[in-house]
Amino acid sequence: MLRFTLRRLALSLVTLLILIFVVFMMTWLTPGDTARRLAGPFAPQERVDALNEQLGLQDPFFVQFWNLLVSVVTLDFGESFSSPGVLVVDLVQPALWNSGKLVLLALVLTLPISIIAGVIAARKKDTVVDRSIVTFGLASASIPEFVSGVILQYVIGVRLGWLPAISDVPEGTSLFGEIEYLLLPALAIVAVYFGYIARITRAGTISALDSDYTRTAYMKGLSTTRVMRRHVLRNSLQPTVAVTGTQIGYLFGGLVGLEIVFNYPGLGRLIFRAATTPDFPLLQAGVITVAVIFMLCTLGADLIIAWMNPRARMNLGNE
């Protein structure tokens, strides 16, 4: 298990390094004189030169890349371009926390419903129930989340007036009180992810139900509940864990449209603003944060799977 973990971790680090390089390349390729843009069109040339010096913008390619790597390790990305005097870390941290709250709430809502739906669909395979769950899941999962966000905002937030239509949490609201404000965007996420999770759970459960060990368990005379719990679910939920791991990664930062619709200060909106400003240190820090979270989530998912199933441990270790 230790060997597997280390191997998996090493692979993640290589991937992360490539990604940081890609992010670096993108900002490096950006046309235009960054220092000039920052200083303003009327600033004296000395000021521009000083900025260039200070930000290391004239350094050779690899020196700049190395500096970025150092920034990642030390979590020091310097000051934001768009809000001078504010450290990038101090902008990323609250956004990360906000995204985290939204993702957590969305998961708490999505996982139970979709796993149950997936298992039901698998046990009633090829019936009307199964077809409706699968088709509904397919339909809801294909809609961009800003679209379902807008529709939910209108129907539940405005027409029915059940929940706040905007996620502007007032100052001083308790963590628990925030749930009310986060519920609508979280429901939009549920609409998207229900389909994926239910589908993958269904597929996993069908193959587990078809397997020899399930037949053996039944033939031993175990009750259905016991077979499901002890034999089927333990195996069928592995793909679900894997998908959930990747999805959590995407939920941080991938929800640009949704966060804008609900005016929610998460990572996605932060990165969007950094990209359009453009605020390179903030952009780099934001995107790399999303990548690190993705790595951690997929790593976590793989470890859980390895723990659930020794066979997967072998496969992943050798892949």
Partner: protein, 363 residues
């Protein structure tokens, strides 16, 4: 965005399960008829349009051993293959999901091509009643089915005209990504080795960031012209396609027909393009349809974020949602909710088609 790559894990498993079946179908289809069907006659068959049928027992010297012919995938007789195709077509046409999907997609394609058939108003034309008065900010009514926006444009007309930009960008981007991904997937999955190892790491790096964030960065750097959008989406979708094709190729590469081609001394290029490629066509077709769905998803999101370039007044679903969603709280829902529903209907329809194709290819 998040979900743009969301189902990749689902996809990743599917080719592995359906690719071999695909091979099996042609395998078992008629090893005996192979003897009677000469390669020449099969090649001349006018109906050999699909690649799966285009490569019947290839022109090769006598097989190494007697069984080699029996396991040729192309060994299925032309009749058998026609039969399979006919049955698949029948399955598709009787599937409600497929038919509904096609009707909806067909409707939007017509709106993109000939919007004038559906609406008398132009997308930037202010609706005037018979007495010449304008009716901005009016809810759905007999004169403007979907209401009018703040300027007084007909929301229905904007929804009809708005199909065009998305239907130009998305399919082209998806096609490019599938072509690139198929090439890479074939090379990686068949040749393996260090090229595969290195490219796999790079693909993983790309997959660890939501497509929308990478697209955001690229568009900020390279501008927002249609061409840039198409290429950005194509490049960002290529890793996913590559992974799907690669795993399908890896499954095929273990089958006997590939081994026998190797024993015949065929070169890698021949085996990849003439032996394996025809047998993964269904995987590629399904992948293309799925990618079209995600490309629509991505284009709409980019338009919503204001990252598409056309002139700001032309009709575009994503941008119309962006410009009007803040009015929802003033209960003026129609200028944003109708284009939102249009996006939803198109993506759902494309996914219904993709799902039916996937199902049929596995049947």
């Amino acid at each position: 965005m998040s979900s743009a790559t969301g189902d990749e894990t689902t996809r990743r498993t599917s080719p592995e399960s359906d690719a071999p079946t695909d091979g099996d179908v042609t395998d078992s289809a008629g090893s005996f008829d192979a003897a009677s069907t000469t390669p020449r006659s099969a090649a001349a068959d006018p109906d050999a349009l699909t690649p799966a049928g285009a490569d019947p027992s290839p022109v090769h010297p006598a097989p190494i051993d007697g069984t080699a012919d029996d396991i040729e995938p192309g060994a299925a007789s032309v009749d058998e293959r026609k039969q399979i195709r006919r049955e698949r077509r029948k399955l598709l046409l009787t599937s409600p999901a497929f038919v509904i999907g096609c009707v909806i997609v067909g409707f939007w394609i017509l709106s993109a091509l000939v919007p004038g058939w559906f609406t008398q108003w132009g997308p930037t034309e202010v609706v005037r009643l018979a007495d010449g008065s304008t009716i901005p900010r009016t809810g759905p009514n007999a004169d403007a089915w979907f209401g009018t926006d703040a300027i007084g444009n007909d929301v229905f007309a904007r929804v009809i005209y708005g199909a065009r930009p998305v239907l130009i960008l998305a399919p082209v981007a998806a096609l490019l990504s599938v072509i690139a991904g198929t090439l890479l997937g074939l090379v990686m999955g068949y040749l393996r080795g260090w090229v595969d190892e290195v490219l796999s790491r790079i693909i993983e790096a790309f997959l660890s960031i939501p497509v929308i964030l990478l697209a955001l960065m690229v568009l900020v750097i390279f501008g927002r012209s249609r061409l840039v959008i198409i290429f950005t989406i194509a490049v960002l979708f290529t890793p996913v396609v590559t992974r799907t094709v690669r795993s399908a190729v890896m499954t095929e590469a273990q089958l006997d027909y590939v081994t026998s081609a190797k024993l015949r001394g065929e070169n890698s290029l021949y085996i990849m393009t003439r032996e394996i490629l025809p047998n993964i066509t269904s995987v590629i077709v399904v992948e293309f349809t799925v990618r079209v769905g995600y490309a629509i998803f991505t284009v709409a999101t980019l338009a919503f974020l204001g990252l598409t370039a056309d002139d700001a007044t032309s009709a575009d679903w994503g941008r119309d949602v962006a410009n009007n969603y803040s009015l929802i709280q003033a209960d003026q829902w129609w200028p944003s909710v109708f284009p939102a529903l249009a996006i939803a209907s198109l993506v759902i329809a494309v996914n219904l088609i993709a799902d039916s194709l996937d199902r049929v290819s596995k049947a």
